[in-house]
Point group: C2
Chain length 697, copies 2
Amino acid sequence: MKSTCVRRLLVCVALSVLGCGISDDATARDEGMWLLTAPPRAMLKERYGFDPSPAWLDHVQRSAVRISAGGSGSIVSPDGLVMTNHHVGSEVLSQLSTKARDLMETGFYARTRAEELKCPDLELDVLWEIKDVTSEVNAGVKEGMSPADAGEVRQRAIAEIARHAQDESKLKCEVVTLYQGARYHLYCYRRYTDVRLVFAPEQAIAYFGGDTDNFEFPRFNLDVCFFRIYEDGLPIQAEHSLTWSGGSREGDLALVLGHPGSTQRLYTNDHLKFMRYTMIPARLRQLWRAEVKWQEFMGRSAEDQRLGNEDYLGVTNSRKAFTGQLAGLLDPAVMGAKASAESRLRDAVRANPEWNKRWGDGWDVISKAEHERLAWFDRWFVFERGLRSDLIGYARDIVRHAEETSKPNGERLREFRESALASLYTRLYSPAPMHDALEIERIAGALSFMAENLGGDDPAVLTALAGKSPKARAEELVLGTSLKDPAARRKLVEGGSAAVAESKDPMIVFWKAMDKESRALRSRYEREVEAAEQAGYAKIAAAKFAVEGENTYPDATFSLRLSFGAIKGYAENGRDIPPYTDFAGMYERYADRKGQVGFDLPERWLRGKGRLDLTTPFNFVCGADIIGGNSGSPVVNTKGEVIGLIFDGNIHSLVGAFQYDGTQNRAVAVDSRAIIEALRKLYDAGPLADELQGKGR
Amino acid sequence: MKSTCVRRLLVCVALSVLGCGISDDATARDEGMWLLTAPPRAMLKERYGFDPSPAWLDHVQRSAVRISAGGSGSIVSPDGLVMTNHHVGSEVLSQLSTKARDLMETGFYARTRAEELKCPDLELDVLWEIKDVTSEVNAGVKEGMSPADAGEVRQRAIAEIARHAQDESKLKCEVVTLYQGARYHLYCYRRYTDVRLVFAPEQAIAYFGGDTDNFEFPRFNLDVCFFRIYEDGLPIQAEHSLTWSGGSREGDLALVLGHPGSTQRLYTNDHLKFMRYTMIPARLRQLWRAEVKWQEFMGRSAEDQRLGNEDYLGVTNSRKAFTGQLAGLLDPAVMGAKASAESRLRDAVRANPEWNKRWGDGWDVISKAEHERLAWFDRWFVFERGLRSDLIGYARDIVRHAEETSKPNGERLREFRESALASLYTRLYSPAPMHDALEIERIAGALSFMAENLGGDDPAVLTALAGKSPKARAEELVLGTSLKDPAARRKLVEGGSAAVAESKDPMIVFWKAMDKESRALRSRYEREVEAAEQAGYAKIAAAKFAVEGENTYPDATFSLRLSFGAIKGYAENGRDIPPYTDFAGMYERYADRKGQVGFDLPERWLRGKGRLDLTTPFNFVCGADIIGGNSGSPVVNTKGEVIGLIFDGNIHSLVGAFQYDGTQNRAVAVDSRAIIEALRKLYDAGPLADELQGKGR
């Protein structure tokens, strides 16, 4: 649980998603985050001569991994080795670090299985079964129901469908809302919680170039780390795992399997305006504030720098991503294109009386909901997006767990449904260490943010601060609570309502005082916004299917998708950017920017330069359509072999939240050859390279 | 002209000021920013046995310098040498730097007069004459006038008083509003505009510890630079200049002559709440945003780092200052004390029917004004605090100059009155170089800020952006304007209304489209807020004089004040902080924090360590009551000899904007002995040290 969860391509799941139409423009040839149950067969065949077989699709699906920290990964050896990004694993690396042993600084390599380090609360999910449950979800919805009531009926159905599936299959089951409510799929996962760290390089090479080069290309990052999945104390013997390739070439088709978090491509213009003028500015204001606060915190000492690093990186990454999104929404070209597309679709609907009757008001339903929420947006934002920290999260989950689990499954908040409880307990009972200084900073920041936004005479602020300054109140809460101890959390959870009611723990008392308004705002959001969006977008999606055909993909939902595109460069400011970089280029950039923040290199890379083949391809770009959440996605060739590892998108990919433009939008990956070269020549990690390359088995 | 003008103790002048009562508490013994015409004689005599003679006061007054960049200084040799802080001179250092010669990086020392570098637009003012003009200012105010009308009458009188005085004396004359309108003083200055750079150290030693140590103590900063005043091509022969001391000791009385910018100690509780919940949060949101933007800008290249440095430092400094202020206002102890003091005064007024009739509604007048401005605060903030850059400032001044100078003197906006025009032209015709990249960044930032805050459908935003994204629009304006050339600016100013009306220059066209609303908001502020504050605070001040006596000092107004206090340490978190640091301590801190941002040392200081007497006192603290604007103030002993140079306040001084607490509030100064030691041993600047110490004359 982190107070901010967006990191480069590692993104929180948003709930608003819808199907996206494919532009027929040549610049959009590689568009789409496709369902594995409906891959873009015709496009792949026509453009790249590739026709994935059901077995191919099944194999890559069951080799792909969703990572609870918010990213993607893949199983890359029969012994359960999992590859993802360093920046996806970095929260774990921080948890496993101490003042004396900073894995972010030094990197890590387990030479033997015994040395592999158990991660406190990492959960890996592998998508095993998929089923369309649209009709079951909608079965209880009656003609004439309000969107809010229909939404409630659907949520009850969803909770029960997931529980039944889970009871039957013993898998972790979720119902995924696709095309913003036009389709519902049941996804059942194999769930793994004994995950161990095998290898990570130093942060300095994983994130070489820092914030300056983040979302840019050319790049030179070894943004990789490896974990291993265990069950019953032994590495799993994976039924499916990806094999390693001999490398790729310019023009090759690159296929990306991953979990894009959230896109808003089918948002209506009014909804985009809400993003443009309300939501993104609010997020940016919060992020600018947080970025400055974390820098101040980190400046205090070397240890504070280490402690604050993970929150800080998350904040800077989100800030850069939202800055790019806002720039896109402030660009008249982007908004103009969205407006024309919407007009065309609405005209087509209006021209058909039957369509108009069924779907014509879809856009207005959205507009009304986004407009009306403005009246309570600030308050909602403070409670639901501002009031966050590890301890606040624990207190909230414990207080709500007592109340929610006493209700019928279908009436509970999502995260307390039967199908979600196992993951909740994994988070709640995490043995990861907590640091007072860090939590005081987070909570003081959250309380100040609340006071700055609601005003200090606000009853909720008065209650939250209890007559103290934000800093003093945060110290009191953090130093006084027992919730830093997982055993104390478990005791409260298992004690149920009575234990929570009696508890004098200051964090529990604090949250009990906040819970009523927090719940009310969440409930209002779910009933008045989310349900209205689902009602409206279901109509718009139906209209779109009717007008443009069903050959389309849904907006991203942090569920498994297939993206594709050729390995190719692009033009920027009149310059041609080639698709590959190499080690030599990294040393040049190092020499050029030496001494500037983010451009240090680890000693190992400075001393070891002579051992490396400097012509080794290091990073590359391809046209695959990805977004935050795709971090750690494997890039495979048509044989399903690993040719790279997605870790970023270029600056032109940020507007991809709303619109894909294949002329410049590129996914950025670590080349598989760079991983092997660095493991063998610099990290003395020959056995790991052998395992990846399938040698010595 | 900078888009942000707060740097450490270098502060924009705010207009709302009022007299401050002295607490009788022992912790407040050294409180006060006293008028030189009403020094705290009794206190100085009783506590420190010091009774400044009229000649002493006259001498230090005429040795003190006000610096147009927003700080303080002093004349420290008969040849017109002026001492101030490096961070006060840094804007000039940036203007005099190029890609090839970065004075911030290398420092500067003119070994001969011929090598002294002329500053493009620095203006130094020396306060020469003072006169109370309260009755003249109020002469035209009639019983029963509204605050807004009375304010207008006073403004007309002020304009004419200043013009007459200026015509007669040939000095630069200003009417200063003291005790927020209870008193008006006419200040006439000797004005100098041929100012040349003599010496500056490297920024790395002037600002050692960076943002981390800013507003902290212990400190180790050589935050000093020297200029020289010229007239008719020769150094002035100063009638008054400060001599150098042999040093100070713990317990000595330190006297500070400087120009504190703005305090809000006598603000009513409702006015403080406006600061707490509206003004400071708005400023902080703007600053957090700007800090992140400038970091991104500076990360792009070494040259962008150099260009953005000055804006960036200004922003980080303001952010830290406002953070401290907000923390104070969020502290129930501070607000509780303010509330009790206000209750006591109001009770005393209510208890006396005559007083109650005359002054009883003073507090309500303020409350009403601060409350009613909330309705238009956001817009006012965007136009009057957000829409800033060098080019925007030029365009605004040129457009307004044409209109304003055609009006009678008494009806003009302040900065276009006859007495203010010379300073305006100095700024407007500055030959300082302009950098496209910097201005594009500033203007794109200002336009985005506007769009984020007003919404993109706002007519003003639509006009400002002209259908382009903020970045594209900024590029168009900056690349297309001729205003980067001082000759072009002069031609437009001299062409008057006709030239402005005909101009197709994009910046002029842009501002002509913005001017109407900007003027309306400013006028609304002046009539509805400023005039109401003056009316209300004049009553409160009169009540305060009646209840508590007149032995008090007015809130700071960026005019000359005397502060005082013993050189003494303080306790913090249970530790005793001694009052002096030394060079040895600096090298220890360097070793401790090596490699962290802000803790580099110049090569000169690393190589030259062996030559220094490491026991030389480096920085010290004293209890003198100072605030932003005091940067560069000389610290003198009772003989009027320089013992130090104010450059900062500690973290406990930040709440000093609202309340002085002598237990921990400390002013931070460079020790005079450190300046001499560094000049002689490290900078090979013996002649400059000789001039300071009066040797060889």
